[in-house]
């Protein structure tokens, strides 16, 4: 509760500072809209915003599920054989530093203009940090835990599910966190750079349109939604998973 109060206080202070800067009149309203006009933009655009948000969440969901499955597959494969491990770690070294948005031109060439290109960018952005975390997670399983598991007669899937997964879960969780953040960034960035095809577009396309219509309060409203979803997913989903798993199992200290 106190945590919540301190966060609320921070947001309130930020809002007050924002309004004070605006009231000095140093910046035109076109660049620095008031809190009131942002709130009214949020309310007026609620139907459009909800639609755009759902669209964004849907393609990010599809992208993330694909990326997680691919990352799991790659991780298992790299434990299956030395050649796979080398190939995947080389691929990681090449691809991980490449920002997802940088492959947008290639994505458009391969998949055309539309949702599939954006989906490709999302999967690409999320995949490498996911593999990185998963791989580190599995590699950092203490050998003695594995031995204990084997001594108890666990093999194959049982060993993976009951020993390896809990032991590596902190890494998996932080991989998911990074993957989610990267996917979210990629979807907004891709739509902001090249717009969207037709009526299909998420929050990035919303920001793009508002920018071209010079509706600055609308741009801030869209940004606010993006931030709120980020906070919501962190506190409702990831914190929940954390409390129910690694905190309960006491695999992490704090």
């Amino acid at each position: 509760m106190r945590d919540f109060v301190s966060k609320l206080a921070f947001i309130l202070v930020l809002a007050i500072v924002w309004e004070l800067i605006r009231l000095t009149g140093r910046y035109p309203a076109l660049l620095f809209p008031g809190i009131g006009s942002i709130a009214s933009a949020l309310w007026m655009e609620r139907v459009d915003l909800i639609g755009r948000t759902l669209f964004s969440l849907r393609i990010i969901g599809i992208g993330l599920v694909t990326a997680v499955s691919l990352a799991m597959l790659a991780t298992f494969m790299s434990f299956g054989g030395k050649i796979f491990a080398e190939v995947i770690s080389d691929l990681m070294a090449i691809m991980h530093p490449l920002p997802g948005i940088a492959i947008l031109p290639v994505a458009i060439l391969w998949f055309g203009i539309g949702v599939r290109a954006i989906l490709f960018v999302i999967v690409f952005s999320a995949l490498w940090p996911l593999i990185n975390h998963f791989y580190t997670g599995f590699r950092s399983i203490p050998i003695n835990q594995l031995e204990v598991g084997r001594n108890l007669g666990l093999t194959g899937w049982e060993l993976a599910l009951k020993v390896m997964l809990p032991a590596s879960f902190p890494h998996i969780l932080s991989g998911l966190r990074t993957g989610w953040a990267r996917a979210w960034q990629a979807s907004v960035a891709a739509e902001l750079v090249f717009g969207a095809a037709g009526g299909q577009g998420g929050l990035g396309w919303y920001l793009y349109k508002k920018r071209f219509m010079m509706e600055t309060p609308g741009v801030f409203a869209g940004m606010l939604i993006i931030v709120l979803i980020g906070i919501g997913v962190e506190y409702l989903i990831f914190a929940g998973i954390e409390n129910r798993t690694v905190r309960k199992w006491k695999t992490i200290i704090n």
């Binding site: 106190r2 206080a9 921070f10 202070v13 800067i21 309203a29 037709g198 071209f212 010079m214």
Partner: protein, 352 residues
């Protein structure tokens, strides 16, 4: 426990104050810098102008190459910005003194309080919707799967399409879900590859290049959509520059006139000068520069014609009460104010 929380709140407060302070001090530094540049260039006035690419900017490119401004004591600082949206934002934040944009994007800015007015008309140039699909001959033939490329929402191409849609189908937003926002070169590339899009609302040289291909045709002509001629772009000068630097303003307008006139008088030399810039051969460029409908002029055409439609369709919230709300005095003097009913120049500011 409580102690820690309080420390955190204090830390957050400090952070907020820091952010605010950096905003305000950043602003202070800027004014100091501005004063310095003003002192440095006391002999020569300067104006910061956004540069863009396209056949319509030929006079501007010539003006930069031959320098039509220094004889009036003006130095032009050319800036290149990514898109029309960025140009407008730069004007609003006083990073630019002058820029060129279509009348609809300007009206959107004007409606939101962009402190700039029209200093000159800038060319009358054909702008058309092109397709290669043999089944598409009118706007009614577009189906849900037919994608139309145009530069951005709120661009002159978008508004012309909406105007035609309202006239022909009764719904200005009928094809909104078909639109793809693509810069002109990317749109042209998609059209020539016959990939992703079936139609492209564009301007020369892209328009001419597409129409040179067999089977590519015009579905909608911009002048038909508007009802008569209109300036493809207008030259805008910010209020602060116009008010604080009247000599610089006059020099900019006159230099623009000189450049425009030079292009009209010397189209062959213009083609020679700009062919490397456009990366096409001289003859082709000359053909484009002399194509039917191309008119390099600073006269105002159709300045008021987009506003009524844009307000009705919800793109802007208000309509300029008179030309003086959107244009500087040299334009107002050109158009004039005939007693007892409008003159020709006044009537051509409206759409039909």
């Amino acid at each position: 426990m409580f102690c820690i929380k309080r420390q955190r709140v204090v830390a957050l407060l400090l952070l907020a104050v820091l952010v605010a302070a950096s905003f305000i001090s950043g602003c202070g530094q800027k004014t100091v810098q501005e004063n310095q540049t003003a002192n440095d260039d006391e002999q020569l006035m300067t104006i910061r102008v956004a540069k863009q690419f396209g056949l319509v900017y030929a006079p501007l490119m010539v003006a930069e190459k031959i320098d039509f401004f220094s004889k009036y004591g003006l130095k032009v600082e050319w800036l290149t910005l990514g898109s029309g949206g960025a140009v407008r934002e730069a004007m609003a934040s006083n990073e630019l003194d002058a820029a060129f944009m279509g009348i609809p994007p300007y009206l959107i800015g004007w409606d939101k309080g962009l402190p700039a007015k029209i200093a000159a008309g800038y060319c009358v140039i054909p702008v058309s919707l092109v397709t290669y699909d043999e089944n598409i001959n009118t706007l009614e033939d577009f189906k849900a799967e037919h994608k139309i490329a145009l530069p951005s929402p709120g661009s002159i191409q978008h508004i012309l399409l909406s105007m035609a849609l309202e006239k022909q189908l009764g719904d200005p937003n009928a094809l909104d879900d078909n639109l793809v926002a693509l810069p002109h070169p990317d749109g042209a590339q998609a059209m020539l590859a016959k990939k992703d899009v079936v139609a492209h609302f564009t301007t020369p040289p892209y328009l001419f290049e597409e129409l040179e291909q067999p089977g590519y045709k015009v579905v909608l002509d911009g002048f038909d959509a508007f009802g008569q001629d209109f300036n493809f772009n207008v030259a805008l000068v910010t209020e602060s520059y116009h008010d604080s630097n009247p000599l610089g303003y006059a020099a900019f307008v006159q230099g623009l006139n000189d450049a425009m006139n030079w292009v009209n008088e010397n189209k062959e030399e213009t083609a020679k000068l700009l062919a490397p810039e456009f990366q096409i051969d001289e003859e082709k460029l000359l053909k484009y520069l002399t194509a039917e409908g191309v008119n390099y002029t600073t006269a105002p055409y159709g300045l008021m014609g987009f506003a009524d439609f844009m307000q009705k369709a919800g793109y802007i919230s208000k309509v300029p009460g008179s030309l003086s709300e959107i244009a500087w005095e040299n334009i107002l003097a050109q158009v004039g104010k005939r007693e007892g009913g409008p003159c020709t120049l006044e009537t051509i500011q409206w759409s039909k």
